[in-house]
């Protein structure tokens, strides 16, 4: 059947057709939809793991136990999972195993533009790079075969445009693959130094075999056209190159990019007059090609920063640009992403933003937007879980320097489960004195509402144990813990004051569902339905803009009459503005 699929949907379809038995991941843009689309297939055990390292390790366990296993993550997720990933490079597999790395050139939803192709080279694992949805599907199937044939982990490296672009895919049937028997094999699966030392030799041998495969496979193919220009490309960059060069160049299109097919590259280079390497981000292929003594043009012309596109390829190589309509683009006022109307993070950060002499460490999630104007209530954002441990280190230094500055860490529920728990252990163990705020909005929100250990539901929506944050925090050794509703501003303010007055580490759990969350039965019981909207009485409004300073997108300040106004379509009736208004000009209606 011909179906339009995103690259992520096609990876899931490929996993289904390849007979995959086990899949695990932690959500992360642009990779999230891979597991969501595997989930409906009853033949596959599919799970959200608390973090990427756990996802990879559970997939490794499944693979050693004889299953075909797949795991997927965003590029920075592989940093978290790097430890088991590198070891897999040595041990190889039992059942086939594929790791999907979804890189984010252009930082559409990420903190950096790291090029994870270098990971494949460094960990000595085989790598595929699909350039369309059809290739995504086909390559999962092929990667499973290669993984089992050569006894290696295979990484499929995607990018945002491949993950989130739709193109036509010819779907097929699932081929059931029997789970292989598990045979205890200590020299292979137990990487004690003596075993690993022997395994390193095995890996180098496998790489030689894989290089031979790379030179022979039709995953790496040549399209002959005019031989004046030759283009070597892979991934979505190949599509951009085709768009720019068309039939005026010959192509060596690489689908298997580690180890590179250097013999094939050399033959292609010999036949063409000028050789371009068109690749997105870093000169991964170019460096290796040049090291092999082959002349080519790459990053001298094509930038290694931001997302590539046909315009950039064309301008870099030919110096030409399309004709465009001439107008003043700066007339468009910016439209940055904002916390939604009714977002509990706004209610939390509104109170925190009032605190003086404070360093606020942040983390990865919707709440990172708490650092944007008008709240400006976040100083740092480094990586998942960093808020809690960074706060600890910073506070220690302030103390040593006789600075009485307070340090507040802000972290989401899913992020706390991901990697905040061990950081909090550090605070207790090393006699820290930070205030850790866990913003529990009852869901993994930023990536599009995935369940996590705290929601009480699995990836498939099945009921499971609901992990409570407060007992975890107490078990880690925190003595001062309060769970509060941030929508109640008086309680929010009082609790922050309580924590600031303590001279020991404390945790505030700010618990209220995401405004976009579809309430579960338990949410309804705990938080009740929310209805109605807020209304400004223009006679009472003094135009002080305090409600506007919450940054709610439902509130607009009418400059002409110097009064606030609330858009009733957008307003969800959270009552934050009503509580902060000094003249009680806002009331709730329509309940």
């Amino acid at each position: 059947m011909r179906v339009l699929m995103t690259g992520n949907e096609a990876i899931a379809q490929g996993a289904y057709e390849a007979g995959v038995h086990f899949a695990a991941a932690y959500p992360g843009t642009p990779s999230t939809e891979i597991l969501e689309n595997i989930a409906p297939h009853k033949e596959i055990i599919a799970e959200w793991a608390p973090n990427e390292k756990v996802a990879v390790e559970s997939a490794v366990g499944a693979c050693y136990a004889g299953a075909r296993a797949l795991t997927a993550m965003k590029h920075v997720g592989l940093n978290v999972a790097a430890d088991p990933f590198f070891t897999m490079g040595y041990t190889g597999v039992n059942g086939g195993m594929v790791l999907v790395s979804a890189d984010d050139p252009g930082l559409h939803s990420s903190q950096n533009e790291q090029d994870n192709r270098y990971y494949a080279k460094m960990a000595k694992v085989a790598m595929f790079e699909p350039s369309s949805s059809q290739e995504c599907k086909d390559m999962v199937i092929k990667a499973m075969d290669i993984s089992e044939k050569y006894d290696v982990l295979v990484m499929i490296r995607m990018t945002t445009r491949v993950c989130h672009s739709k193109s036509i895919v010819e779907t097929g049937e699932r081929v059931e693959v029997p789970i292989k028997p598990y045979v205890k094999n200590v020299p292979k699966y137990n990487v004690s130094p003596a075993n690993a030392k022997a395994l390193h030799l095995v890996v180098e041998k496998k790489l030689k075999e894989l290089e031979k495969f790379s030179n022979e496979t039709d995953l790496n193919y040549i399209e002959w056209n005019d031989k004046k220009i030759g283009v070597i490309s892979a991934g979505v960059a190949y599509q951009y190159a085709k768009e720019v060069f068309g039939k005026n160049a010959s192509y060596l299109k690489l689908g298997f990019t580690f180890p590179l097919p250097m013999e094939k590259i050399r033959k292609f280079a010999d036949e063409v007059e000028t050789l371009y390497v068109v690749e997105e981000l870093e000169p991964f292929m170019e460096e290796q090609i040049k090291a092999a003594g082959i002349n080519c043009i790459g990053k001298d012309k094509i930038p290694n920063t931001w997302e590539l596109n046909p315009d950039i390829v064309k301008k870099s190589i030919f110096g030409t640009e399309n004709q465009i309509i001439d107008y003043d683009k700066s007339l468009a006022v910016g439209r940055p992403p904002t916390l939604c109307a009714g977002c509990p993070h706004r209610a939390f950060f509104y109170q925190l933003s009032k605190k003086k002499n404070t360093m606020i460490t942040g983390d990865i999630g919707c709440y990172t937007l708490g650092g944007a104007p008008p709240l400006n209530a976040m100083d740092t954002c480094v990586c998942m879980g960093a808020s809690v441990s960074m706060a600890h280190g910073a506070k220690k230094v302030f103390e040593k320097n006789n600075d009485d500055k307070r340090v507040v860490a802000t972290i989401g529920d899913s992020t706390f489960f991901h990697s905040g728990m061990t950081s909090l252990l550090d605070v207790v163990f090393n006699k820290g004195n930070t205030i850790t705020c866990i913003l529990d909005n009852r869901i993994t929100a930023m990536t599009g509402h995935q369940d996590n250990p705290g929601t009480g539901y699995t990836l498939q929506g099945e009921i499971t144990d609901t992990v409570q944050i407060e007992p975890i925090v107490r078990a880690l050794g925190i003595k001062h813990v309060k769970t509060i509703n941030p929508m109640n501003q008086a309680e929010m303010k009082e609790t922050l004051n309580w924590a600031y007055d303590l001279n020991e580490p404390s945790v505030i759990i700010s618990r209220y569902p995401c405004a976009l969350k579809k309430y579960s039965k338990e949410d309804l019981e705990e938080f009740g339905p929310i209805s109605g909207y807020c209304l400004v009485d223009e006679d009472t409004c003094i135009g002080c803009k305090i409600c506007v300073s919450t940054g709610c997108p439902a509130i607009v300040f009418k400059k002409d009459i110097k009064k606030s106004s609330i858009n009733k379509v957008q307003c969800v009736g959270c009552e934050l503005c009503l509580q902060v208004c000094p003249t009680k000009a806002i009331s709730k209606v329509g309940e």
Binding site: H108, Q323, I325, V333, P337, K559
Partner: protein, 191 residues
């Protein structure tokens, strides 16, 4: 490739560009075209500026449209037209929804919603203005504004030979089929 047509849909997160691109690309695929569609999920969805790109033809390579390459720009929100106009071919068509969503700096009173956008665009490109919000309200649900705009797009791109009603039926929930088909027809009539 030269025969490839480029459609750019722009708006604000939550305006329903995704459903429109889904109906559009499904219809084009069923009509026998090669189709590629690209959109970015993630952080921008939180009230940010969003764009969806649909390319179709005999064989499509890049999933994204370059600057100065769009045959049509359909703007679900008035000011967004200004942000994306550079992607339009000089001889391309703009369909502007006369519908304003103020962004954060405007809400906070730090900037003003620009005036005279429609007049400015009309002076620069072949422009069709539609009040899809009003049409959708008349039909009883402002949310179908997106399918009104789809109708306007289909008419403007001369893609009326495809059985869009059947495609809409296959892509929206049964109870919303009637209102969406009405919205689609109103959109076709409006340009």
């Amino acid at each position: 490739m030269k025969d490839t047509k480029n459609i750019l849909l722009v708006g604000v997160g939550g305006q329903g560009t995704i459903l429109v691109s889904k109906i559009l690309s499904t219809g084009l695929m069923e009509a026998g075209y090669d189709v590629k569609m690209s959109e970015i999920h993630g952080m921008a969805q939180r009230g940010g500026s969003v764009s969806t790109q649909v390319r179709y033809g005999k064989e499509v390579s890049s999933p994204i449209i370059g600057i100065g390459e769009a045959d049509i720009l359909v703007s679900f929100e008035t000011m967004e037209t200004l942000r994306w106009l550079e992607f339009l071919k000089p001889e391309g068509v703009v369909v502007i929804n006369d519908f304003k969503i103020p962004s954060a700096p405007i809400l906070m009173g730090k900037a003003d919603y620009p005036e005279g956008i429609i007049e400015l665009i009309e002076g620069k490109a072949k422009t069709k203005v539609i009040n899809a919000g009003e049409i959708a309200e008349e039909l009883g649900n402002q949310k179908v504004m997106n399918v009104v705009l789809l109708g306007a797009l289909i008419k403007s791109m001369n893609l009326t030979d495809i059985d869009w009603e059947a495609v809409i039926k296959s892509q929206v929930k049964e109870k919303f089929v009637d209102i969406n088909i009405k919205a689609f027809k109103k959109g076709m009539d409006a340009v």
